[in-house]
Every structure is written in C-alpha cells, then in structure tokens.
C-alpha cells in the first residue's frame, strides 16, 4: 500500500471513530450526573485537610499524619524527570468528595444512580460469577462492598481503608505509612494528606485464598482527584491474589489520580497484586506502590497500563528477608497523546534474594512509552540474583520508546542481567501471516497479542479476555 493511500485509509478510519464517539454518551452513558453529598472547596490547604479528617471522624494521630503529609507536599518540588507534570493545576482539584451517606450494607441500600453506573460496569455480573468479593469505589469512598462468608470465616479482612481504620486501628498504628513514608516523594506526601478510600486486606497466618480479591475503581466527578490508600498485610505462610481494574469516563478537564499502595509480605507468604489501568486519556496517574518482603516471601506485581494521559508508576519490592523473591510483570500501551512512564524497582537488602522484571511496551499513533527501572544490591545482600527483560514495539514513525534502567551493585557476589530490545514488527512476520490470508490489521493485532502474551496469560481469565479485546479495538486504524 502506498503511503498516501494508507494515510487516506487512516483518515477515514479516524472519522469512523468520530462517528462512534458522537453518540458515546447515549450509548455507553458512563457519565452519570454527579450527586455528591459533601465536597471540599477546590484546592489544597490546611482547612481542607482538617475538614476531610473531621468528616471521617478520624483519630487525632491520623489528622497529624495528614497535616505532616501536607507540609512535606508543599516543601517538595515536582520531579524533573519522567513525564510533563507542569500542567497539573493543584488549585483546581477537589480533594475530597463524599458521594452519599455512609457505606451501603447490602445491594438494596445502594442508591439507584450509583447502581446504574455499576450496572454499566458489569459489577453485578461479576458477583453472579461468585467472585471472591467485590469492593467498588465510587468517587472517593467505598459505597458498596460484599464479602463472601468463607472469607470472613477464615479470618480474612477485606474492607475499605476508612472502615478498617475504625474497626482495626491496631494494624494501622503498626503498618500504616511504614512501607511508603510521606516524605518518599511529592505524590506520596499528597496522598498522605488527602487520602480517602482504598482497600485494606489482612490475610491471617497460613490462610490460602484461592479466588482473587477484586476491587473496582472509578472516577466520576469533573476534576475529581482520587487518592486511595491501600494497605495489605499477608501474614506468615499465607497466599492471596488481589486484583484491581479501573475504568473511567471521558472528561475534558485534567484529573489526577495519586494512590499509595503498601504491601507487607511476611515470612513464607506469597502475594500477587494485579492492576489493569485504563483511565481516560486526560488523567494523570501518579501512583506509588511498594512491597516489603520478608524471609522466603514472594511478591508479584502485575501491572498493565493502557489508559491515562501520563502514568508514572514503578511498583517496587524491598527484599528485606533472606531468600525473598520479587517479581514485576509490566505492560504499557501508549497511543496518541499518551506517555506511559512505567517500570519497576528491586532493592536487594538481605542475602540470597532474587528478583525478576519483565516489561513489554507498545507505542502507536504518536504515543510514548518509557521503561524506567532500578535494581539495587546493597552491601548486605550476598548472592543476590536479578534478571530484567524489557522489550518494546514501535508501530509507526510518530511514536517513541525509551529505556532508562539503573543497576547499582554494591556487593561483588551479585549476579545481575539486563536485556532490552526496541524494534518494529518484522516484515517477514507480517508477510507470513498475510500470505495465510489475514488482513494487514489482523496480522498486526496477532503479532501485538503474541508480544504481550507472556504477561496476559498471568491474568485472571476475565481480565485477559478484556485486555485482548481492548488491544484489538486499539489496533483499529493503526495500520500504515
């Protein structure tokens, strides 16, 4: 196909997309009218922080924690590296919004309009399918949560962070803000000041949760920032899998999502945290995720970044116990107007620790994806082993791909490997598939699916199906 012809096809396809989008609201209607009971004023100051804490009837120490976070946030400057953060207008954001009175105890108590949104998200279906438990976050607070009886019978705690702070304060005094202190970075400080919602998970000693614990997140108010705070404790010898997926309606104004996720993996425990992020293309997604892994513990982060305007997210593992293992599987997909700055960090602190990072990124239609990673072996970590593999695909001449890994090795017994490749789809692969009767677009879709397959196969089935469908949709109009 000639270049001109291809451009023509691309144009027609683009206009088709326009037609689809024109009745988007009527058809998918994600944009349910806002019905907030309480909203703080725009902007961030001490009064707002005090108001949030008061609304939630929090203990004094949490208010102090928030105020300290605010002070650190104001002192720290925006990071100079990574994506462009200059356009975030911190004064034009609502930092807290309470959607309706209290938490719904059961489905019947959940207000009708919120139910409508959930229906469109398919959450009731998810329940019918006997998923382990569904925590849905509407705006900043958990309004509906259902836990299957077998979970609570085993002593597993799975609830909104606000609720858990009231019911299980003992965990918070011991663990809250310990893995990610407020002064870690500017956005962790911001979250510490205004956090709201998120999940709290406690898996008792030896408990093995077979089905994934799931949480859904949505942003649904113009310029509404989401600052959820998740705290997870996997006690000795336990095993569990936590899944969060995000869908957000389309808004023109920029919104900010800045979560903090802290995971503690105790001796011999195994925990997997899966995220598929598909924020609308105006969201800044600046998230701090970190796990502390003790002796013989295993932590796995599976991180899929498809949406948002800019994502800066580097799930990390602090391997503090002997033989601890950390793993990150990351997929990034950057299309027009998007910058995915994703990666992983591994800190080897104890001896005989191991880690692995596999990252796959796809840049298309002017998108930019960057891998940013860190492997740090401290002097106390004898015989550390780490393997990093990042592969990138660039699908057209307008797109960009970068790789910024750092390996800092302060122990001479370490065994560290890093590999990265960037390439376009091989012509011979396309030729082969097309000679078998596939169209150019089908062939390209197939190659991209194959490229990310090693990570997709680790996802729960419904997510894998969703992701493949999403990639297929995204690939429309990228041929050329």
């Amino acid at each position: 196909m000639g270049r001109k012809q291809v451009q023509e096809t691309y144009k027609t396809k683009k206009s088709n997309v326009g037609i689809v989008n024109s009745n988007y609201k009527a058809k998918y209607g994600f944009n349910v009218p806002e019905n907030a009971v309480f909203k703080t004023k725009r902007g961030l100051n001490e009064t707002v922080v005090r108001q949030i804490s008061e609304m939630k009837k929090e203990p004094k120490w949490m208010l102090d924690f928030r105020l300290r976070g605010l002070k650190i946030f104001n002192e720290k400057v925006l990071p100079e590296w990574g994506g462009n953060l200059k356009n975030i207008d911190f004064d034009n954001i609502y930092y807290y919004l309470k959607p309706s009175d209290g938490e719904g105890k059961n489905w019947a108590d959940v207000p009708m309009d919120i139910k409508n949104t959930f229906d469109r998200l398919g959450i009731p279906e998810a329940e019918k399918m006997h998923l382990a438990g569904v925590k849905a976050q509407f705006d900043s607070e958990v309004v509906y949560g259902s836990l299957m009886k077998e979970l609570s019978d085993e002593g597993i705690i799975f609830m909104g962070t606000d609720e858990a702070l009231k019911k299980h304060p003992e965990f918070f005094e011991q663990y809250f803000g310990k893995v990610i202190p407020s002064h870690d970075n500017k956005f962790a400080a911001l979250n510490s000041a205004v956090w709201s919602g998120g999940s709290f998970v406690y898996i008792p000693k030896g408990a093995k949760v077979k089905r994934p614990l799931q949480a859904y997140f949505r942003i649904n108010a113009i310029n509404m920032g989401q600052f959820e705070r998740t705290l997870i404790i996997a006690d000795e010898g336990s095993e569990a899998h936590y899944v969060e997926g995000c869908t957000a309606p389309v808004y023109s104004a920029d919104s900010l999502h800045s979560a903090v996720v802290e995971v503690i993996v105790k001796k011999g425990a195994r925990f997997r945290y899966t995220t598929i992020q598909n924020w609308s293309n105006d969201v800044y997604n600046l998230v701090t995720k970190r796990a502390r892994v003790e002796e013989d513990g295993i932590m796995e982060w599976i991180d899929g970044n498809l949406g948002s305007r800019l994502t800066m997210k580097y799930p990390s593992c602090y391997l503090v116990g002997e033989r601890a293992h950390g793993e990150v599987l990351s997929i990034a997909y950057a299309a027009e107007g998007q910058h995915q700055d994703a990666g992983a960090k591994m800190f080897h602190i104890a001896p005989n620790t191991t880690s692995q990072i596999i990252s796959k990124s796809v840049s298309v239609r002017g998108g930019r994806s960057s891998y940013r990673g860190m492997v740090n072996v401290s002097p106390s970590s004898d015989n550390a082993k780490s393997r990093v593999e990042c592969d990138a695909l660039i699908l057209d001449a307008d797109s960009r791909s970068d790789t910024y890994p750092v390996m800092k090795i302060d122990n001479s017994s370490a065994n560290i490997e890093h590999e990265a490749t960037v390439s376009k789809i091989g012509e011979e692969k396309m030729f082969y598939l097309m000679s078998r009767g596939l169209t150019e677009q089908e062939a390209m879709g197939l190659v991209v699916s194959g490229f990310i397959e090693p990570i997709v196969k680790e996802l729960p089935l419904e997510y894998a199906v969703e992701l493949n469908r999403l990639i297929e949709l995204e690939m429309e109009g990228s041929v050329g």
Binding site: A392, I394, L395, D396, A397, S399, R400, S401, D402, T403, Y404, P405, V406, M407, K408, I409, D410, N411, S412, S413, A414, N415, I416, E417, H418, E419, A420, T421, V422, S423, K424
Partner: protein
C-alpha cells in the same frame, strides 16, 4: 575497516567518515560521543578495563544516530579486582530521521574481588520506528562450574581463574581487526 586506539579522556567526540573500529582502555573519567552522521556508515567501540586495588572508572558513551542506514556496536568489558569501582552510562539515541538503524550495546562486568562495586545504566531513546536497537548488561562472578571443570583437568585454582579472565577479554579482543592493537591492549590490561 579502519581502526583507532583512543586515549582515555573526557569529551571525546567521534564522527567517523568511513567504517571504523575504536578501542579504548578507559581509566578515571572518560566520556565518548559517537555520532553517526553519514549514511551507510558502521562503527564499533570496544572499551576494556581491568581495575585493581581501589581504582575506579567512570565511563559514559553516547551513540547518536542522526541519518538513516547507520550501524553502531558498543561493547564494554570490565574485570573488577579487590575493591575497585566501575560506573557506566551507555546511551543509544536514535533521532527521528534515522530510519533503518541498527544499534547495539553490551556491558559485561566480571567481579573478582570481594569488595567491588559497580553501577550500570544502559539507556535507549528512540524516535524512529524502523530500527533495531537493543542492549544487554550483566554483572557476575566467575562461574564456579567453569573453575571446577578446569581444576578437574589438573589446573590450580589460580591458573583456572586466570584462563577464565583472559577468556572473558579474548571474546571481545578477537573482534579487534589489528593484531598489534590487540597485543597492546593485552599488555595494558595485564591479567
């Protein structure tokens, strides 16, 4: 292919006009910009070093592809004895017009001493799509199986280690096109 043995210093800027192989034994701080600004050109840069005592090397290289059809290979091999320190930043930059580029970078550190430290940052910045760019970086100790194998053939542990270290460098030296330079490098590395 033209070959050049470079003197270690800061701000070395290379803009080859024909296919060229550069060899350097960096010491202290050294930085090299390798600019590929002529179509069809192919360049190689080999950096080799063996550090003893508390010696250190801070090496940075940039391969900048500005025009289409250029090829660049960078190979760094360092052996760290005692408490020596190495720090390497290797950047591949492929600018928008530089289609049909092939660029490769590899960095291998063999740590022999017990108090060595090293850092490595292989970076890719790619704005063209029809390219092949990759890098690999490894840090490791001498493989115990290899020592065992050689010792089972009657070599002492020291002799076995020596063979493995020299093999580590020879794998790259064998690609150097000029025997005189190869010998010079061997002498200077002194391993």
């Amino acid at each position: 292919m033209k070959i050049e043995l470079l003197k270690s210093q800061q701000n070395i800027i290379l803009e080859p006009q024909e296919d060229t192989q550069y060899v350097i034994i960096p010491s202290g701080e050294a930085s090299i910009d390798l600019i590929l600004n002529k179509q069809g050109i192919s360049a190689e840069l080999f950096a080799l070093f063996a550090l003893k005592g508390s010696e250190n090397v801070f090496l940075s290289t940039r391969s900048v592809h500005k025009v289409p059809h250029t090829t660049c290979t960078i190979n760094v091999k360092g052996a760290l004895f005692d408490s020596s320190v190495s720090n390497y930043i290797g950047k591949i930059i492929i600018e928008k017009p530089a289609q049909q580029t092939t660029s490769y970078l590899e960095d291998n550190i063999l740590s022999i001493g017990n108090k060595t430290r090293n850092a490595s940052q292989p970076i890719l910045e790619i704005e063209a799509d029809d390219v092949k760019a990759s890098h690999g970086a490894t840090t490791g100790r001498i493989n115990a199986d290899q020592i065992y194998y050689l010792m089972s053939r009657g070599l002492s542990k020291e002799a076995a280690e020596k063979i493995i270290i020299s093999g580590f460098f020879e794998a790259l030296l064998s690609k150097v096109v000029d025997e005189k330079i190869r010998e010079q490098v061997r002498k200077k590395l002194n391993v």
